[in-house]
């Protein structure tokens, strides 16, 4: 179908690494180049998700062919947010609607301009992501065109807040990253009858330049395992560092751990742990390619592109067993294993490092999974067909409400 789709997301740009915002940029760009859809984005001027400060200029611009409308935020994240968040996290199921609405306002970014602009857009379909922020919550119930919701939900306290019942209820259709995300949402909200698609994210081929990964991180020929993503306590980095340090005490040797990504939480120094900080995309691919295992320690992922990228280079993965989406990837692909305690981490890592055939088998299965499911042309064709159906059904079609 040829039509116009408007994406709504609190941040947008090449500066934003990972997360739902980065995912929607990639989808918008591929949709524009590979289908007849005209794409526009409504977002704020923010780069920093902790403040939502208006860092970028307001107005309309173009990024990789996609029209980007940036709207100033009237309010960023309020200092009172953290106190309220801490309080509501203690018993999220007991949160009142008034408290939850205040939580959304305090969390920001609040941009009435953005809401009005989306409602006035001539788009045939609007796609909103993620569920957590004010632009989605304030917009989804007001738009006149069909709304495709990309919740990017994971099992966190905020998902239990009653304010989101309306947010999920106002969606005409859902686009999920994984079946685990769909199961989680449908466990929380009675929306299973709505049109939906489990899409995921696409990847291309490795962008590495062939330089030895060990040399790039100063390890020379030493074997290493890698973890890519923001180095952050909430992402499991602190746990991984502690688990790896314990592992090295029990299994001395040359093995190292390389953490690749911007650093939000400092980790204790350890002679066998290398923290690279943010690196060039090509370097990241080279570092991952030469790793023995790629570890995803985060329990709160809604897709985890880094797991998929590791499989592009046939690197087996080790994931947090309590993270539904990454574990689902492992089970559906046969490309990785998981841990739910230190003893499991120890046993799995020891087995993986000692068994070349197992690593090769897992890596090969992971690669086949990526080729079968997460290549952009396949994804974009499916999304095209899906949003075409949603546009044809219209807003609030019979049976939706």
């Amino acid at each position: 179908m040829s039509g116009k789709i408007a994406f709504v997301t609190p941040r947008y740009g090449t500066e934003i690494m990972g997360g739902a915002e980065s995912a929607v940029r990639r989808l918008a760009e591929h949709l524009r180049t590979e289908t007849g859809w005209e794409t526009e984005v409504h977002t704020t001027c923010a780069l920093d998700p902790h403040t939502w400060a208006n860092d970028l200029e307001e107005g309309t611009s173009h990024l990789h062919g996609v029209t980007v409308h940036r709207h100033a935020s009237a309010q960023g994240r309020l200092p009172d947010f953290y106190g309220l968040d801490g309080l509501l996290r203690l018993a999220p199921q007991l949160t009142t609607r008034a408290q939850a609405e205040r939580w959304v306002d305090y969390n920001g970014p609040v941009s009435p301009q953005l809401v009005e602009a989306v409602c006035a857009s001539d788009a045939d379909v609007v796609a909103l992501t993620p569920y957590l922020y004010h632009p989605t919550v304030a917009t989804i119930g007001r738009v006149p065109m069909p709304a495709v919701f990309h919740p990017a939900a994971h099992d966190e306290p905020a998902l239990y807040f009653p304010v989101f019942r309306g947010t999920f209820g106002d969606a005409d259709a859902f686009c999920y990253y994984t079946a685990a995300e769909r199961a989680l949402v449908e466990r929380m909200y009675p929306v299973a009858d709505r049109p939906q698609i489990v899409l995921g994210l696409g990847v291309g081929e490795s962008e590495g330049t062939g330089r030895p990964g060990g040399e790039l991180v100063g390890l020379g020929d030493r074997p290493y395992v890698v973890s890519v993503g923001r180095v952050d306590e909430h992402k499991g980095s602190k746990m991984l560092a502690a688990y790896f340090a314990t592992y090295k005490e029990r299994h001395p040797g040359p093995l190292a751990l390389v953490l690749v990504g911007p650093v939000s939480s400092e980790l204790p120094a350890h002679p066998d742990i290398v923290v690279t900080g943010a690196v060039e995309e090509a370097d990241k691919w080279d570092i991952v390619r030469d790793a023995l295992v790629a570890v995803s320690p985060s329990a709160l992922e809604s897709f985890s592109l880094v797991v998929i990228e590791a499989w592009v280079d046939r690197v087996p993965v080790l994931v947090n067993g309590s993270c539904g989406p990454t574990r689902e990837h492992c089970e559906r692909s046969g490309g990785g294993l998981w841990f739910s305690s230190y003893p499991e981490f120890d046993a799995v890592l020891e087995r993986l490092l000692a068994d070349d055939a197992l690593r090769a088998e897992l890596g090969g299965r992971g690669r086949a999974y990526v080729d079968g499911h997460f290549r952009w042309p396949v994804l974009v064709r499916r999304y095209d067909a899906f949003v075409t159906t949603v546009a044809e059904r219209g807003r609030g079609a019979p049976g939706l409400f």
Partner: protein, 344 residues
């Protein structure tokens, strides 16, 4: 593509299961055994394991670790001992000395308190282990008597786009006041037919290889059991529900659950369509082997009409050629109380 399920797991060139999930579960089972052996040999000091557990749990999902009672009990046991010897490390030169002195002075007091706390925690832990043992025994006994779910049982000659009942079923859904759900949808043949007739339909099927998400094309098909799916649908949200290859082998309890879920999710004016094979087909020599394993047998059309009329539907049954199967179409003007078997 062959979707036939067999008991044996197909294996690849190196003896590893071809099925990805079976493959990683096999490896993880070996890991679990290794972990069990290590734990029983006291491989890791309990205090260290507890600290490492806390790191894992700090940012785990709200719903926890999948409700594994054994794992939760292990963590209760690990947390039972409360150490009265407080750490004395300090960044200041005199800090360690001061802390050490305070620890020595207070150890008798802290030790007395923590001893009682540990005893209390230990008593709770023992009680929980007794509960765990009794639950395990109960589960074992319940499992022996458990009535298995019927599953999907397809008769190739009766389930497909050319079957006689498809046309009247689709016609009965023409005025459905909302989306139509088809279970078990297979590759979506009936969903496509309803959509082609101008309806809005989607399907669910519990058989994993039937509904392959990436290959499903524009149809909205999902891997799910129909009762589980209906539980995640808002009340009165569906305009029509079609069940085929679903109800024949159900035992009474499973059928009652399904009808209760249908009753609350179907919108006023909605249409409920049931296709079932007859007992003659069920008992025929060429019937699928699953018929022997199913916990129930097909109801007669009269029984279906009675069941549905008791739940507030106007039901009409139509026999198929040769008495091999039948179609029941039921409509209901208003949402009524969920179905409950008579006599309750």
């Amino acid at each position: 593509m062959d979707h036939t399920d067999t008991d044996a797991t197909p294996t690849g060139a190196h003896g590893a299961p071809e099925d990805p999930k079976a493959y990683v579960e096999q490896v993880m089972a070996e890991i679990a055994e290794e972990v069990r052996l290590r734990r029983s040999s006291g491989d890791l000091p309990p205090k260290l394991e507890r600290e490492l557990d806390e790191l894992f749990l700090a940012h785990s999902p709200v719903a926890g670790r999948g409700g594994d009672l054994g794992e939760a009990l292990r963590m209760v046991d690990a947390a039972t001992f409360i150490d009265p010897v407080v750490p004395v490390e300090s960044e200041r030169a005199a800090g360690q000395f001061v802390k050490k002195g305070m620890r020595s002075l207070l150890l008798w007091y802290v030790g007395w308190v923590t001893h009682q706390m540990s005893q209390s925690a230990s008593a709770v832990s023992r009680a929980l282990h007794i509960v765990d043992e009794r639950l395990t025994e109960l589960e074992r006994r319940v499992e022996v008597q458990r009535v298995p779910d019927a599953g999907v049982i397809e008769f190739p000659s009766l389930h497909g786009p050319d079957s006689w009942w498809v046309e009247p079923a689709v016609a009965s859904l023409a005025k459905a006041p909302g989306r139509v759900l088809h279970a078990a949808c297979g590759d979506g043949w009936l969903v496509r037919r309803i959509v082609a007739a101008g309806g809005d339909a989607y399907g669910v099927d519990p058989r994993p290889r039937q509904v392959d998400v990436p290959g499903s094309g524009p149809s909205d098909l999902r891997e799910a059991a129909v009762v589980d799916h209906l539980r995640a649908v808002a009340p009165a949200a569906l305009g029509g529900i079609v069940l085929s290859a679903t109800v024949e082998g159900m035992a009474g309890g499973e059928r009652a659950q399904l009808l209760a879920a249908v009753g609350t999710r179907l919108a006023p004016g909605g249409t409920f369509v049931v296709h079932s094979v007859s007992r003659t087909s069920w008992d025929a020599a060429d019937a699928p082997a699953e018929t022997d394993l199913a916990p129930g047998r097909p109801l007669r059309p009269e029984a279906w009409c009675r069941l549905l009329e008791d739940s507030g539907y106007q039901a009409e049954a139509r026999q198929g050629p040769g008495g091999n199967d039948f179609l029941v179409v039921a409509t209901r003007d208003a949402v009524t109380a969920p179905y409950a078997p008579s006599g309750r």
